[in-house]
């Protein structure tokens, strides 16, 4: 008997494990994302203590936190001629012509059927780090939490926020 049963059971288990292991979960945050320029959150948010919402200015007003316009960078770094803080991205800016369009790569993406809105979370006093982790310590942003429904629900339960599916899924 066992001559048959054990291999069969083993096979089933392995195939199951393989499916879970290798299946692509499109919405899992990416830890392998490289950005077009070597931008460092550690330098900006960590060392220089620039508040998150200085650059991600829409977070408290909108669904999306927003990625800073190049103009915002130029605000501090100035342009080549006018001096200003010399960004380590100088080589990059040298071989690009203005307007510098930085095509960032997404780290966090949500499916179309999840209507997450930053605004109420900011106003409810949720710190950015609670979802995005200690970004101010990262040179390259890597996700700390896997942002899935379980993650949301846990926090909502803790804080006694709404549990109504319809609020996020519509």
């Amino acid at each position: 008997m066992n001559r048959i049963l054990i291999p069969v059971a083993l096979l089933l288990f392995l195939s199951g494990a393989a499916t879970v292991g290798f299946s692509e979960r499109p919405w899992a945050p990416r830890s392998d994302v490289e950005q077009p320029i070597p931008f460092s959150h550690r330098v900006h948010a960590g060392i220089n203590k620039i508040p998150c919402q200085y650059c991600h200015e829409y977070a408290r007003r909108s669904a999306t936190s927003g990625v800073p316009p190049v103009a915002r960078c130029v605000g501090c770094h100035g342009s080549g001629l006018l001096g200003g803080i010399k960004p380590i991205t100088q080589p990059w800016t040298d071989d690009h012509q203005p307007p510098f369009e930085i095509r960032w790569n997404r780290v966090y993406a949500l499916p179309d059927f999840v209507k997450f809105v930053h605004k109420p979370h900011i106003w409810a006093g949720v710190a950015c780090q609670e979802c995005h982790g200690p970004v101010e310590t990262m040179d390259r942003v890597v996700p700390v939490h896997e942002i899935n429904m379980g993650f949301c629900i846990n926090c909502h339960t803790k804080r006694g926020a709404t549990q109504d599916c319809f609020v996020c899924h519509h």
Binding site: Y58, P69, V70, I102, N105, A109, D112, D164, H169, H170
Partner: protein
């Protein structure tokens, strides 16, 4: 918005967001984030911005507000500041979105090669070709250039004239087939002024419409619908509770006839005669209070129009003519509405209004009426003849005028334009006329360009671009100006502006000084842009009626002795044909017949029997295979599928105008027949011969049965019952059949916060379907096309139910049962407990939620829904580029295999609640308006919080205790929607 993000970054943004929105289910969204180079303070990504502008879909020129997300307009709503629309908008207005995002828009200039095919060419080449041709034509002599376009508002039209003038041409016509010429001519004859009178239906207590489908296409339907709803609202009149009385003289009922007490079937073209007969009777009865001594003279003039002879001609019984005369005579402020193309209809109606003292009250002429926008037909035909006679070198067809499609066959527009040496076509979606052009140049949609409108005295609408152009097109008038500056030399010096924007701006500066509007300077301009224009109250004029005008009354054009009459009517959505390339307008059923994506011939059962026509049923209630008839008109024969219906006069074939495009994009071309081509100039009726041919055709409708079978779907009661507090039979029946509601087996739901509900006044609803279009736009509803509708896969969350009262009901019912049906958001929702995965569940605010991403598609919920308001995604929804840019980012795009339904616009509710919470305040009543309620011109739908006793929605129920009912109460579903019964006069049937 005028100076905003660069087009490139806009398009990228749009592409990103569009991709994100258009992918259903479980694929990663675009993995790129492209920030603005320079941020636009107008735009917070994720937060809509609103721009006031004017609607360019028809000549009514309503003020609208465009909702813009990430630089793309995703929704149009009425502008509350505009006294005409007062915040409402019609289905056609909504569909402007599908005009600007139409996948068949011209993206590059094209030139026609020798073999007739089109080749793309560069802008410079195209403009050079255009300018050279113009210069050459200008050299060749005067009037060698002809411009045919639709009216674009005073400033741009003036600009066009100047442009042509610079090239020494006066052949500029602004063409509208459905024009105002007869109205103006009659006004001239009667009152000595060519203005259009303004009608105030809400001031009348009796309305008789002679061929004016004032709830469909005539005049400004949005305004008239609102006024008519007010007119029909029960209130104290002459010491008794009553509603206005209305009659509609027309060959077909339509929804106008459906909402009137009396539909008076008359042969097409004889409405005028009937009107004169009515006037005649009134004169005889001495009810022309203000005629004084002239009454007898008038009666003498109208000797030819005695009821008997007119009755013979028009097929209207003498009794009905007398009845209408009686109604008008008895009324305090009667109102006669003239429609159609027959001047004498207008003469008669004006006479009735003037002599009963309604002019200055229900019908007024305003001081400072705007100049005529459209050219007179004779001018236009003259230009066409000139083109045909080879007196024109360059023909410019622009701005959506589609002469080859709309002009009468007798003018021979097609051949004339075909003969012209050089034809240039400007526009967005190439139409039938573009086929005759050698050069096609893409221009901005009206939502992308500057313009203004002056629909009536005191109202100046400002149209501003609400978004960057979708396609690399250009502004028509910029091109014209440029050509003038280049080619016309010093003749063009008079034109001082750089471009159309300057012109509009300049015009408004003039306007400011003219009207003495404060504040001054730039602030004025900004204010105008914020308000969408300047809306002043113009004062009414005292006009004197000239009785001799009636001498001009000529006998009706169409003599009804011939067996059959073809009565063409403008399709409520497709209008004169310009709507046909917008899938929403094709997919929304025509309200009175419920037919989609087609044109048809309405024929009365009697006539059908005579012609041996019948419906061939397959095992389905849809019109599966109907006989096709060949209709022989003086200008050729056409074939139409028959729709056998009692809603048309016997002996008349009624057919909708608007289909039958040879080329107008994928949604319009090769569909039905173009009626314009068979109608004589200045008339919409023609005597025809018809015979059955051996072919069957399938007209498609989402409507199952037209018989309500006495069920409580659209409930009605008579004014008398309401006034005397008598319960209508159906209510008594329900009371004895159903247990005392609410019957609760378990504890009832408790709503601590809000509890959303609706009150819908069926009496006000005209079935105009603006709500349906609004829902399509707001909630990303897919359109399937004729085939999918045929399979019963219409996706609309809200639908207009239309039933025909059966013979025994007819005595105690309006002409049609019409009501909007959407999810009733029940407390005992049958859909909820049957869902195995909680995709359908009850929210704390009383909504029946449907969680798309949880739905596995067992479809049990729809089986158990008595109202059948849930929709299943049978097919993968498709929005051909760039239609997908219109999708609302706040609403999930549903993939195939999931159930979807009305959510009371949950995205609007959620956003409002977030705003209120973050601002630390309570929601105020009216802060949240669902798309359907917002659009409704009749204000039939009100949305609000049932827990808030002061909300307008709750008040509306309290104020109408006698009329409230819930749909299908025997299911004890406890809907959150309460309807108000429709009203009719027991003795209303004329």
């Amino acid at each position: 918005m005028s100076d905003g993000l660069s087009r490139r970054s806009f398009l990228k943004l749009a592409a990103t967001a569009g991709a994100a929105a258009a992918i259903p289910g479980c694929e990663p969204a675009a993995r790129k984030i492209i920030p603005y180079v320079v941020p636009d303070e107008n735009i917070i990504p994720g937060v809509p911005s609103y721009f006031a502008t004017t609607c360019g879909e028809c000549s009514a020129g309503c003020g609208i507000i465009a909702k813009v997300r990430e630089g793309r307009v995703i929704k149009l709503e009425g502008n509350p500041a505009d006294p005409i629309s007062q915040g409402a908008i019609c289905a056609r207005g909504q569909a402007a979105l599908q005009g600007v995002y139409n996948p068949d828009r011209l993206s590059k200039p094209k030139r026609r090669k020798a073999d007739g095919s089109l080749e793309e060419i560069g802008w410079d080449e195209a403009l050079k070709l255009f300018n050279d041709r113009l210069a050459a034509a200008a050299k060749a002599g005067k009037d060698r250039i002809a411009y045919i376009g639709a009216p674009q508002g005073p400033t741009l039209d003036r600009l066009t004239k100047l442009w042509a003038g610079a090239f020494g041409s006066s052949r500029v016509v602004f063409w509208e087939r459905i024009g105002t010429e007869p109205a103006r001519a009659a006004a001239d004859a009667c009152f000595g002024r060519r203005d259009l009178p303004i009608y105030q239906l809400d001031r009348a207590d009796v309305i008789v419409s002679f061929g004016a489908d004032f709830l469909e296409t005539w005049g400004s339907p949005v305004e008239q619908t609102r006024q008519y709803a007010d007119f029909r609202t029960p209130r104290m009149r002459r010491g008794g509770l009553s509603i206005g009385k209305a009659a509609y003289v027309s060959p077909r009922m339509g929804i106008t006839g459906a909402k009137c007490d009396a539909w008076v079937p008359a042969n097409p073209g004889t409405e005028g005669a009937v009107a004169l007969a009515v006037l005649n009777v009134m004169a005889g009865a001495g009810s022309l209070r203000h005629a004084g001594t002239a009454a007898s003279a008038i009666q003498a003039q109208l000797a030819a129009y005695d009821p008997e002879s007119v009755s013979r001609k028009s097929g209207v019984p003498v009794s009905q003519i007398k009845q209408m005369a009686d109604w008008l005579g008895q009324a305090e402020s009667p109102l006669a509405l003239p429609g159609g193309d027959d001047p004498q209809t207008y003469l008669a109606a004006y006479a009735i209004n003037a002599l009963t003292g309604s002019v200055g009250n229900a019908m007024v002429f305003l001081a400072g009426a705007p100049a005529e926008t459209a050219s007179r037909p004779q001018e236009t035909s003259a230009v066409v003849q000139a083109i045909g006679a080879g007196q024109v070198d360059v023909v410019v067809i622009a701005a959506g005028a589609n002469p080859i499609f709309t002009m009468p066959a007798s003018w021979g527009a097609a051949t004339a334009i075909g003969r012209a040496p050089f034809v240039v076509w400007f526009g967005d979606a190439p139409d039938d006329s573009a086929q005759a052009a050698q050069l096609l140049i893409p221009t901005h949609h009206h939502l992308e360009s500057w313009r203004d409108s002056a629909p009536r005295a005191g109202i100046y609408g400002l149209g501003q671009p609400v978004m960057q152009p979708v396609f690399p097109s250009r502004v028509l008038h910029d091109i014209l100006l440029e050509s003038a500056h280049l080619g016309a030399g010093e003749a063009a010096q008079s034109i001082t502006w750089e471009n159309a924007q300057d012109a509009v701006n300049a015009a408004w500066q003039e306007l400011q000084s003219k009207l003495g509007l404060d504040p001054m300077g730039a602030e004025f301009w900004n204010q105008m842009r914020r308000n969408g224009g300047s809306f002043e109250r113009a004062k009414a004029l005292n006009v004197a009626f000239n009785p001799d005008a009636l001498k001009g009354a000529t006998p009706a054009r169409v003599e009804s002795e011939s067996a059959l009459l073809l009565a063409a009517f403008p399709h409520p959505f497709l209008y004169d044909g310009r709507g046909a390339n917008k899938p929403w307008l094709q997919e929304i059923p025509e309200p009175s017949n419920q037919i989609v994506w087609d044109s048809w011939a309405e024929i009365h059962p009697e006539t059908a029997a005579q012609l041996g026509l019948q419906e061939h049923y397959k095992s389905t209630y849809l019109y599966a295979g109907i006989d096709v008839i060949e209709i022989a008109t003086p200008s050729g024969t056409l074939e139409l599928a028959v729709h056998i219906t009692p809603l048309v006069k016997p002996g008349v074939i009624a057919a909708p105008i608007g289909q039958g495009h040879t080329s107008y994009g994928r949604y319009a071309s090769g569909r039905g027949a173009n009626l314009w081509a068979f109608l004589p100039a200045g008339s919409r009726a023609v005597p025809v011969r018809a015979r059955k041919i051996e072919r069957q055709y399938k007209l498609v409708t989402p409507l199952g049965k037209s018989d309500m079978m006495g069920r409580s779907i659209v409930e009605v009661m008579s004014v008398e019952q309401l006034a005397n507090g008598i319960k209508p039979p159906i209510e008594l029946e329900e009371e004895e059949n159903t247990p005392k509601l609410p019957y609760e087996m378990y504890d009832a739901w408790q709503y601590t916060g809000h509890k959303w509900g609706m009150t819908i006044d069926v009496n006000a609803c005209t079935g105009c379907s603006a709500c349906v279009a609004a829902c399509y736009a707001e909630n990303n509803l897919p359109f399937g096309g004729k085939e999918e509708v045929d399979k019963g896969r219409v996706m609309s969350w809200i639908r207009i139910e239309r039933f025909i009262p059966s013979a025994d009901e007819a005595a105690a019912a309006p002409n049609l049962y019409i009501a909007p049906v959407l999810c009733q958001q029940c407390d005992h929702a049958p859909c909820e407990p049957v869902c195995p995965v909680f995709a359908s569940h009850h929210t704390p605010e009383g909504l029946n939620a449907q969680i798309y991403n949880r739905c596995v598609g067992t479809r049990f919920c729809e089986n158990n829904c008595p109202y059948k308001v849930r929709r299943f995604n049978w097919y993968p929804a498709e929005w051909p580029e760039p239609l997908n840019l219109q999708l609302n980012p706040d609403v999930t795009v549903r993939g195939p295999g999931v159930m979807e339904k009305c959510t009371f616009c949950i995205q609007r509710i959620t956003n409002a609640e977030i705003d209120a919470r973050t601002e630390g305040r309570q929601l105020v009543d009216g802060e949240i308006i669902t798309a359907c309620a917002q659009a409704c011109p009749a204000r039939a739908i009100s949305f609000g919080d049932l827990n808030d006793a002061n909300s307008a929605m709750v008040k509306r129920r309290i104020d109408n205790p006698g009329r409230t009912y819930t749909m299908l109460p025997e299911f004890n579903a406890l809907p959150a929607i309460t309807y108000l019964r429709s009203l009719y006069w027991e003795k209303g049937k004329a």
